[in-house]
Amino acid sequence: MNINMTTDTTQTQASVIRNLAEVRAMIKRHKLNDYIFSLIGLLALTLALLTLLTLFTDLVMDGYERFNMGFLTDFPSRRAGSAGLLSAWVGSALVMLVTFLVAVPMGVAAGLYLEEYAPKNWFSDLIEINVTNLAGVPSIVYGLLALGLFVYILDLGQSILTAGLTLGLLILPIVIVSTRESIRAIPTAIREAAYAVGATKWQVVHDHVLKYSYGGILTGVIIGMARALGETAPIITIGALTFIAFLPPSPITDVAPFINFEWLSSGFTVLPIQMFNWLSRPEYAFHINAAATGALIIIVTLLMNGTAIWLRYKIRKNIKW
């Protein structure tokens, strides 16, 4: 009897150990999948980053000899060596200013309305689908729309105003979608808390919704602006000039009322168009200029996106949910 029991125990022990070995082998097999996937993921990431890095390095290596102050303070010229970006970056900056002033108020207001005020029915669903679709419309289509609407019908000319309005429309869906997403991230409990003490809808929107979501909205705006900065097709479509040796009138003047709006109707060029123009020249020297411009656009874009990430981090730090 006693002997039997001992054998029983040994047998149970043995089977437990065997089972344990099987379980361990199984875990190892399953963990292999983890390992394989993380390898694939890493490979994909490396490839993507390497491509970008190669492109950027190539641009910098081609264009580095043009990296000097003169490149930023000179007008374009017949001689590649003394041609600069002055009119292009000033044009880009002014167009961006108009884009910002158009896209931010309209986009934020539209996003707020859709999320907080609009009744939820088939019509608002339809609008929602269309806003998302707008983000996927090719930019040249916006250019055609702008040529017809702003240049011909509204007679705004091939001006900074037209370009700013066009790019503003182009990035409007990005601003609307990012506004809605950051508003939606605010928990119901916080909204209900505000309503429960007797706040009106506008008080809730102004004191809470906008305050807690503006980090996300700002991120969307900056990413949209970075995209607008590199847009070429719609600007060419509306007829931006490619060779400009003058600056638009300054928005700020030294006589009262110290601001003027003539710059809005001025002709202009922007960075990507200047780059395109230089690239289409046969002389190699101009290609160096184009490479330097490309590097500059990438740097500015990266800086803008970096700012967006940093701002989001800084603003989100105080909000935990």
């Binding site: 009744p119 939820k120 928990p187 409990a189 916080i190 909204r191 209900e192 808390a193 505000a194 309503y195 429960a196 003490v197 007797g198 706040a199 009106t200 008080q203 004191d207 809470h208 807690y212 105080n318 909000i319 935990k320 949910w321």
Partner: protein, 263 residues
């Protein structure tokens, strides 16, 4: 069952009359609920999950109005002014100015401790700094958290512990001098010590106002409330003094629920 305990010394602060409630999907969540809330008393709502007790509570500050498609039928009348707070002409904001609410999970705003408490006053247009300071201090004292936060009123409310956050939310609800305060399972996210603090606080608060509390915790209802309502499937099954409900309930279902045979 309500009539036979009419006590001339306790006034009725509010009462629901044949209250029916329908959620947007058509779910008939409350069925002809009629019950009074006695002034300066704590009334507890108990019952299994989904019985409609939170739905009932949220009728009192028209929280359901925030979501389209919800429908009330019947009345909730507030005394002494006899206002039916469910009537179309009555603005839900007016109702929320008189009846405040504390939620299940502490939900402070991502603002400072001070601003959390002051918000209800700011919404009412109060901007006098001295007035706000006084009211904030009074509310924090009333919610028994003043001593813990008086030196860091400008700190973020998120840095407080869960129990402190809930007491801060009570202070926020208290700062506007409400007539009725609603508690929706106020301690379900808290540990036993924080729970005891909140319960003690509720007993103190009823000196000043009327309290309606939803709770899943039978002992809590027995400890803290003066009246208890047992709800089941959207109906009010039994309503009486807490003592009576817990010692000799008149319905078998109530007894089964209280003794844990059901639910």
């Amino acid at each position: 069952m309500v009539d036979n305990m009419n006590n001339p010394t306790t006034a009725i602060k509010a009462e629901s009359r044949n209250l029916n409630f329908f959620y947007a999907g058509g779910n008939h969540a409350l069925k002809s609920v009629s019950m009074p809330l006695y002034e300066n008393k704590i009334t507890a709502l108990i019952g299994p999950s989904g019985c409609g007790k939170s739905t009932f509570l949220r009728c009192f500050n028209r929280m359901h109005d925030l979501y389209p498609g919800n429908k009330y039928q019947g009345e909730i009348v507030m005394h002494p002014d006899n206002t039916n707070i469910l009537e179309h002409g009555v603005d839900p904001i007016e109702v929320r100015m008189r009846i405040s609410m504390v939620f299940q999970k502490p939900n402070p705003f991502p603002k400072s401790i001070y601003e959390n408490v002051a918000y209800g006053l700011r919404v009412r247009g109060e901007s006098n700094k001295r007035m706000l300071d006084d009211k904030v201090e009074e509310a924090l004292k009333g919610a028994a958290i003043w001593n813990e936060v008086k030196d860091r009123l400008q700190d973020l409310a998120f840095n407080l512990s869960g129990g402190q956050q809930q007491r801060l939310c009570i202070a926020r609800a208290l700062a506007t001098d409400p007539e009725i305060m609603l508690f929706d399972e106020p301690t379900s996210a808290l540990d036993p010590i924080a729970t005891a603090n909140i319960e003690e606080l509720m007993s103190e608060l009823k000196e000043k106002l009327t309290i309606l509390v939803v709770t899943h915790n039978m002992q809590q209802a027995a400890r803290v409330s003066d009246y208890t309502a047992y709800m089941y499937l959207g109906e009010l099954m039994e309503y009486d003094e807490t003592n009576t409900i817990f010692t000799r309930p008149s319905r078998k279902e109530t007894e089964d629920y209280i003794t844990g045979k059901f639910g």
